[in-house]
């Protein structure tokens, strides 16, 4: 079943065409990789899916619903969680508060019930706390729950971003270079974590990553972007051997 379908997505910044009619279909439960050189348009694609930019052309369907021109918080409420290439944590909030904020979308308590601590607010607070604790355990940050987010190491911050994104109970998770800045053992743990959350939370994952080893290991299907165009799509084996990919991207790395 299709969970996300992009058709003809085109984006321009000034005169620059950052994305050129991208078609992409992501199926339920897939780990779908997007690779390509810097500036290829990968992050822009994520920003379009999550409502930060409205594309010049094209449509986005999520579970069959049109997302175009929907504001980011609404997209989040529909169940799309994401992390950022340039880490965007709530630095001067504690680790656990970062995750508690992450659950904003799935709760209802409003100003009045929060102001007076009405039953709705109290009931939700309990659940929010328990869930946040569980998610921190999952990413191995429970011991650091009271630290400020900006006291964490780089790898820990990336994992905290994943926990925060999971707090909104997404059905689709977008990870923008989750392994950037991680050492080898952290990368191994990350791969395990991604597998685990997909199984346990029945997630579909869309992932941008430069580490070829990680991408080839994790992803069932890979799209290759170059100068805003999708130049290839296929399983890891096909992608590795694709002529256009080797000359424009993989060749450079080797």
């Amino acid at each position: 079943m299709e969970i996300l379908k992009l058709t003809g997505i085109t984006q321009e910044f000034g005169g620059l065409r950052a994305l050129d009619s991208i078609d992409m279909t992501v199926k339920q439960g897939q780990i779908y990789g997007i690779i390509g050189p810097n500036g290829a348009g990968k992050t822009t694609l994520f920003n379009i899916i999550t409502g930060i930019y409205v594309p010049v052309e094209g449509t986005i369907h999520f579970h069959g619903q049109e997302l175009k021109a929907m504001s980011p918080h609404k997209v989040a409420k529909l169940g799309i969680g994401r992390t950022f290439q340039n880490i965007r944590l709530f630095n001067k909030l504690s680790v656990i508060d970062n995750v508690r904020v992450g659950s904003h979308a799935i709760n209802k308590s409003g100003f009045i019930s929060d102001l007076f601590g009405l039953p709705l607010a109290r009931r939700e607070e309990g659940q929010i706390m328990i869930r946040a604790g569980r998610l921190l355990n999952l990413v191995g940050l429970y011991e650091k729950r009271d630290e400020y987010a900006d006291n964490l190491s780089y790898g820990e911050q990336r994992r905290l971003e994943i926990a925060r994104a999971l707090a909104l109970k997404p059905s689709l998770l977008l990870l923008d270079e989750p392994a950037a800045g991680m050492n080898a053992s952290e990368k191994v743990e990350l791969i395990e974590l991604i597998y685990r959350i997909r199984e346990e939370m029945k997630l579909t994952i869309l992932l941008v990553e430069h580490d070829m080893n990680l991408v080839m290991n994790l992803c069932e299907i890979i799209a290759v972007l170059n100068y805003g165009r999708k130049i290839a799509e296929g399983n890891p084996e096909e992608t590795k051997n694709n002529e256009a990919v080797i000359s424009s991207y993989l060749g450079v790395e080797a």
Binding site: H73, L89, V101, D114, L115, F116
Partner: protein
């Protein structure tokens, strides 16, 4: 209780305590907008004046009960906070600051020409309904509700907007709505403090609510520590007492505030209590015991 207080406490000190209370309400209101949500507002005195004039006109010219006049002043200020909140949402930092300064200035000029408000002369002879007990009763309620709000889903969302707006949106927070909410509630408190002030001083004039007053309130929030309730309280206490205790401070207000901020930026950039948490204090003690 009030009679007891006035009998045993020097009127001068009682007055300072009442002004501290009113300033705490002002600071907690602005703290919500600027300290917690991170929206730099430099026109808080404008909301205060709306509350002050509304309440004063209602009690004096319409014989409204004091509580109703206070509430009406606060609600009207909240309404203006709501209106200001909407266009300022697209603005950030310096631009937002300029719009809020402009707004407060427009309000001031409006009252300067407002016949029922006594124009430049202002209003005097308001019934002195604001008592020590009333002010501090309200202060306690405001502190408790503030604390409740900030430790809730709504409160965390406001802090998240200050910390990273894009990430807040991506977490499902309607940042537009939340910012308007912060402006509305913060202005409500500003208006409430204004009504109390008018019925304590029994005299108000447009110049009481000028740019300097806005800066004074902002200084309380910054000095105490952005986003911290104990910080805003401490800031209000210090900046109410300082000009009273030190004549030199009163005479060179501008210089004093400027100097204070510079010293603060150097030694405690997050304000006196801005980054003080029980957790960190505990950790420090624990580490000391171990080492």
């Amino acid at each position: 209780m009030e009679a007891f207080l006035t009998q045993y406490i020097d009127a001068y000190y009682l007055r300072i305590f009442v002004l501290i209370g009113i300033n705490i309400i002002l600071a907690l209101g602005l703290n919500l907008i600027t300290g917690v949500t991170g929206q730099l507002s430099m026109g808080h005195a404008g909301f205060m004046s709306i509350g002050a004039y509304t309440a004063a006109i209602l009690t004096m010219q319409y014989q409204a009960p004091f509580w109703a006049a206070l509430l009406a002043g606060a609600l009207l200020a909240a309404f203006f906070g709501f209106l200001i909140g909407i266009p300022t949402l697209r603005l950030e930092g310096d631009y937002l600051a300029m719009v809020t300064i402009g707004f407060a200035e427009i309000i001031r000029v409006f009252f300067l020409n407002f016949e029922p408000g006594g124009k430049a002369v202002g209003l005097y002879g308001m019934p002195p309904n604001t008592t020590f007990v009333l002010v501090w009763g309200i202060v306690i309620v405001v502190i408790l509700l503030n604390a409740k709000l900030l430790d809730s889903r709504t409160g965390r969302a406001l802090y998240a907007i200050r910390e990273n707006e894009i990430a807040a949106e991506a977490s499902g927070i309607d940042t537009t709505r939340m910012k308007v909410l912060a402006f509305t509630v913060g202005s409500f408190l500003g208006g409430l403090a204004g009504g109390l002030y008018a019925h304590y001083m029994s005299y108000i004039a447009p110049q009481d609510f000028g740019f300097m007053k806005s800066i004074e309130i902002l200084n309380m929030v910054v000095l105490g520590g952005m986003g911290s309730i104990p910080g805003s309280i401490l800031g209000a206490v210090i900046l109410t007492i300082a000009p009273e205790m030190l004549r030199i401070v009163a005479d060179y207000r501008l210089l004093f505030y400027g100097g204070l901020l510079v010293i603060l930026m150097i030694f405690r950039p997050n304000g006196l209590l801005g980054d003080v948490r029980i957790y960190d204090i505990k950790k420090r003690w624990f580490k000391k015991e171990v080492g």
